[in-house]
Amino acid sequence: MDNILAFGAASDQAGRVDGLFVMITVIGGFFFFLTQGMLIYFAVKYRRRLPGRDNETPAITGSPLLEFLWILIPSIVVVVIFYYGWRVYTDQRIPVAGATEVYVNARQWMYEIKYPDGRTAINEIRVPAGRPVKFILSASDVLHGFYLPDFRVKMDMIPGRVTTLWVQPERPGSYQIYCTVYCGTGHSNMLARLIVMPQGDYAEWVEHGGGEGGEHEPLAVRGERVAKNAGCLSCHAVGGAEKVGPGWKGLFGSNVPLEGGKTATADEEYLRESIVDPGAKVVKGFPNVMPTYKTTLSKEDIDAVVEYLKTLK
């Protein structure tokens, strides 16, 4: 799966990144050979041949036309490169519907994997080929990184925040995952693998209780239990009339109007923040009375509640 100058891309998105890489290489190469070619050509051609003849050089001090051109042309070129870089990036970041979800929590020095149906694993993620995968990333202690070179993407894993990353693996295979944010002594040994399986094999693996989790309580089921026990449902309706707080039905993925006129998209990070810091984004028309659940609920419980919210369509 080596990838010297754009080979071995493991997804269509990665292929587009490689396209951008080749484009910048060609443009940069052109300017490199143009400028350095002139440098070497001038240095050879105009080397001093006769000592004492160096008072005969022409008094050229500049050219407004050339200055204008070599401000204008690089400006255009960089805007073009910026635009393609931005487009390819934006397409990478757009949420994909129907993605297989995998929770990954990093700690010194391992990746803890959790699937929505309750299975767990360490340092090995299995997903089906040909379907989008969404990694929901967090960290317990210090910053970590989640780098999938074959997919040309990475994302930092930040304590106290949830970050996300999408890929769509096309070919079955075993792909390297590296920690890329320095995290201490074991940093360079913090490796994991993404195993992309043919869809049939994957279904069979799930069937036979793949992973290591024993209890197999699906995350959404756990989330419902936590939400009941923690008293969430006294204020949040899961259907029917609104109670004290905003209702949960259809909440995930919707655009929420906030006090102050802004709106927020109810994604994983928004929901996590609303649970641990309810006053940060108050929904328009509702009182700011919810207490923080920061110390009441564990990170796993919060993940489970968010997963439960996703099922309330």
Binding site: I27, A43, R47, T57, T61, E67, I81, Q92
Partner: protein, 534 residues
Amino acid sequence: MAEEIRSGRGYLAERGWRSWAYTMDHKRIGVMYLYTTIAFFFVGGIFALLLRLELLSPQAMYFSNHTYNVFFTLHGAMMIFLFVIPAIPSGLGNFFIPLHIGARDVAFPRINLASYWVFVAGFLVVIGSLVSPMDTGWTFYTPYSAKTGAAVTTLSLGIFLIGMSSILTGLNFIVTIHKLRAPGMTWHRMPLFIWGMYATSIIQVVATPVVGVTFLLLAMERIFGVAFFDPAKGGDPVLFQHFFWFYSHPVVYVMILPAMGIISEVIPVFSRKPIFGYNAIAYSSLAIAFLGFLVWGHHMFTSAMSPLANAIFSFMTFFVAVPTAVKVFNWIATLYKGSITFEAPMLYALTFIFLFAVGGLTGPFLGALATDVQLHDTYFVVAHFHYTMMGGTVMGFFAGLHYWFPKMTGKMLNEKVARVAWALVFIGFNVAFFTMFIAGVRGMPRRYAEYLPKFHVENVISTIGAAILAAGIAVMFWNFLQGLRKGTPAPGNPWRALTLEWKTPPVPITENFHEIPVVTDWPYGYGKVEGPPA
């Protein structure tokens, strides 16, 4: 003063340690800065060689992973804070700014001396931190830096002091350039080195306080548990990254702008041609200094900033490329129809343009969002950074050292030995660092004490290159020592340059000029024949 002239030793006439420790002569302070920063260049370089030695093998061979992590932290922290940032501004800048503008000294000689001793205090504290050496990387990212048992607080205090010295120097230079120019030296008759130093000084004064405050916040978090950055107590680790890069991105221009100033001096002298596009080069320094403040977010494209913030930072980043490209085009155009010779300063200046072009043109890969998300935190970044800082700044520094060696010491260097050193440096540098681009594209993350066997070949080649580079640098400094000890006496103006420092005696006297010169023209009037109308 009579003694200075009679002995021909100029500002070096007085002897004894007091004559150095208490000196307020900008030239002596510059020389002290040069010796100090070069000493740390060697220390940082030895750490680099130890890193390269360890990386000969994919598994830990000579050092533990922790030791490796300490070495790359010290390599980075010493090279950045104790060598690359101060070497040209505080060393060569101190020596040559007053000489370039026809002044007797900087505006505040006493503050200048204070800045040196604050710098010494800073590096002593940094050395003190070695009792429990730091392993956070030179970037100090929290929460790791807030939690590790190493002496982060001590080291950041040391860097705080070094930052203070940097602010004092920057302030001094701004006032000096504004107030002490010789009669007739208008802004547009200033040498371009002065323009570069002026832009540099502005960045130092504006940006350095931010890193000072950031390190104070980090120290408060470590000592008193005030959680600015600790998410467990409501802090935000990404906030630290914003603070850190708000300083540390502009500061790469503190590193490169003075070097660009040196290149702008050397190229016309050895081409015997006026500099091409004086105004463009002068104002592009200010443009780089300004734009440099608006792009720090490009270090954080994978740090969970919003896609919109990422897009804005990416867009701004690309515009720093334009004034930089303008400088390169103008230097190359200066060569056109010149009468070029290739003494060591010119070799290093041309090398600067070549290597900096590689560093500059690999920038768009990291400025563009999609490719940065791929390449961020890999060896590609390490290679890019070293091409700009070592291939750029340090080559500019070497050009300056060779160019001004006769003026600083009154001795000439052995040109043949200097060329041998140059060839080794050029070959070794490219072998060592170009390979890192390939390792990075193939996915090797940076700051890895151990790596997967598939990166073995690149790492071995890189280490061989580092050894060649080290040999070149050793030959270069041996040549400097030989030049100091038994170099032939230098004439007052060996390169027949037109800037004012060459109008002084071979070794300048303490007051620089017997009589302050009156400036009637710009300093780039080389060549005589009128060319076609430009």
